[in-house]
């Protein structure tokens, strides 16, 4: 079994008196595609923020081995900056490393972005912005990429294209992926393993096939037990 790149154990996150995450555990191993599914307000983004160190947990352990790149919820562009500048800033943590700010490698992987390099990020379509967010995450030269809501607000075709890019990055570069999604079908199709987060707790975990076939997920997220869903 490959070593973990993200290891979360007994994580507790509170906002004032409200508990957003209650003793959550989660592991992503090198080269693995892992889904975290759950409804709005389950605590998914709190988990992301804790993993990236933006949020200080009340208790528990978060270990990030290697670098993580984030594709944040809502894409979070630097609207006034160009695509090129958005990408370059993705390398901030490694800014002193030689060639770290060179965006050419991103244009190699995501050639659509090369034509947009001089455009203001705020003027792009949602799908294009999500692509920039991908590129920006790659600029961190990450071992693992955390995608917070891949499909939110995007057309199905655009989402499918982005999912294909994720699959390719994983297959060709061994990039580990933690995919946070409300769209359970998309997440479980793409990932080998997954977790279900509800009201701040992990309610189920297992292989994508088991989760898709299990009663909790099938009923709550997939509209009943769809025949053959999750068989890969």
């Amino acid at each position: 079994m490959s070593p973990p790149v993200i290891e979360v154990a007994d994580l507790v996150v509170r906002y004032g008196t409200a508990t957003a995450l209650d003793r959550v555990g989660l592991t992503v191993r090198a080269g693995e595609l892992v889904a975290l599914i759950g409804p709005n307000g389950a605590g998914k983004t709190s988990l992301v923020n804790a993993v990236l160190g933006v949020l200080r947990p009340a208790a528990g352990r978060v270990q990030l081995r290697g670098r993580a790149g984030l594709v944040p919820e809502g894409r979070q562009m630097f609207d006034d900056l160009t695509v090129e500048d958005n990408l370059a800033l993705g390398a901030w943590r490694r800014r002193r490393a030689k060639g770290a700010r060179d965006t050419a490698r991103v244009y190699e992987v995501l050639p659509q972005l090369a034509d947009l390099r001089g455009r203001r990020a705020g003027s792009l379509s949602g799908g294009q912005q999500q692509m920039v967010a991908f590129g920006r995450a790659l600029m961190a030269d990450p071992e693992v990429i955390v995608v917070d809501e891949l499909s939110l607000g995007l057309a199905p075709l655009v989402t499918a294209d982005l999912a294909e890019h994720l699959r390719a990055l994983n297959a060709e570069r061994g990039l580990a992926v933690l995919l946070i999604e409300q769209n359970a079908r998309l997440a479980l199709d793409l990932c080998g393993r997954g977790y279900v987060l509800e009201a701040g707790r992990i309610r189920a975990e297992g292989t994508a096939a088991d989760l898709a076939a299990g009663p909790d997920v099938a009923d709550a997220y997939l509209g009943g037990r769809a025949g053959g869903k999750g068989e890969r």
């Binding site: 923020n49 990236l52 933006v54 984030l70 944040p72 979070q76 562009m77 630097f78 609207d79 006034d80 900056l81 500048d85 370059a88 800033l89 993705g90 901030w92 943590r93 800014r95 700010r101 920006r136 961190a140």
Partner: protein, 287 residues
């Protein structure tokens, strides 16, 4: 005609001073969302410090540069006091900057006394189409133009400048990438301190300053900056030049004691017209 030209050039010079001050306000507000009411104090400290350093025997150039550096350091200190503690709201930070401004009065009076002070700038005047224009005015305009060009390069071309813009644009995204908005805010405060200090250093030879000159300076700088919503440096520059020229004209052709009132009334009128136009446009867009 010659009098007009004289007022125009000196108005542009004073406007450049306001613009430097205003660009400091804008830089700080963009990154931290804090309206820095201590901005005028940076100019007073810069102007006073330059005078003291010149009296102490430092040559021109070195004294002025050192005074700007002092103002930058004070800008950093104000930034630490106002925003250094994580999670401080921009509103609380604003109150801190206001408090620091008042504290500075006491310190300034202790060091420099309470009477207006000035120092020699670039002496002499040149005759231009029959108008006598102080050389210092041209120096102010030249230095301000160079500084604005440098600022544009800094924000548009350097990695740190882009990171500052990134914090202004989306602090959450900046944080997830490891860009620390608090530290970037301190960079902005130091920059604002230097810009304010430079304004004081350049303007003091034209008009003597005292500890409470900051009120006049911040009023003009704020009026200029707010014209661009505190976020647009180029609009702030245009506003500052308008103010400077309007004040010089009022003082020249009318009554000097009305200059600020008239200039600020003009700015208010411009803002009201712009605001109503924007509303009309928004209504149009909503249709």
């Amino acid at each position: 005609m010659s009098a007009f030209l004289q007022y125009l050039v000196s108005g542009i010079a004073v406007g450049c001073g306001f613009a430097l001050l205003a660009s400091g306000l804008v830089a700080i507000h963009r990154v931290t969302r804090v309206v820095n009411f201590a901005q005028g104090m940076f100019a007073v400290v810069g102007g006073m410090a330059a005078g003291s350093l010149l009296s102490a025997g430092l040559p021109h150039g070195a004294a002025e540069a050192a005074a700007v550096a002092v103002a930058g350091a004070i800008g950093l200190a104000v930034g630490i006091a106002a925003t250094g503690k994580r999670g401080t709201s921009p509103q609380s930070a604003l109150i801190v900057t206001l408090g620091v401004g008042f504290l500075a009065y006491a310190v300034e009076i202790m060091i420099w006394g309470d009477s207006p002070r000035s120092h020699a700038g670039l002496g002499g005047a040149v005759t231009l189409f029959g108008a006598h224009v102080q050389k210092q005015s041209f120096l102010v305009i030249g230095v301000a133009a160079a500084v604005f060009a440098l600022l544009a390069l800094f924000f548009g071309r350097t990695y740190t400048g882009k990171a500052l813009s990134a914090c202004a644009s989306n602090p959450y995204a900046a944080r997830t990438m490891g860009i620390d908005p608090v530290r970037m805010g301190l960079v902005a405060f130091a920059l604002g301190g230097m810009l304010g200090g430079l304004a004081g250093v350049l303007l003091t030879p034209l008009q003597p300053i005292s500890y409470n000159s900051d009120v006049l300076l911040i009023t003009n700088g704020f009026a200029a900056a707010v014209l661009g919503g505190l976020n647009r440096p180029v609009v702030a520059l245009a506003g500052a030049l308008t103010l400077g020229i309007a004040e010089a004209m009022v003082a020249g052709y009318g009554e000097a004691s009305y200059q600020t009132v008239v200039a600020l009334a003009l700015m208010l009128a411009i803002m009201m017209v712009r605001a109503s136009r924007r509303t009309a446009l928004q209504e149009e867009a909503a249709r």
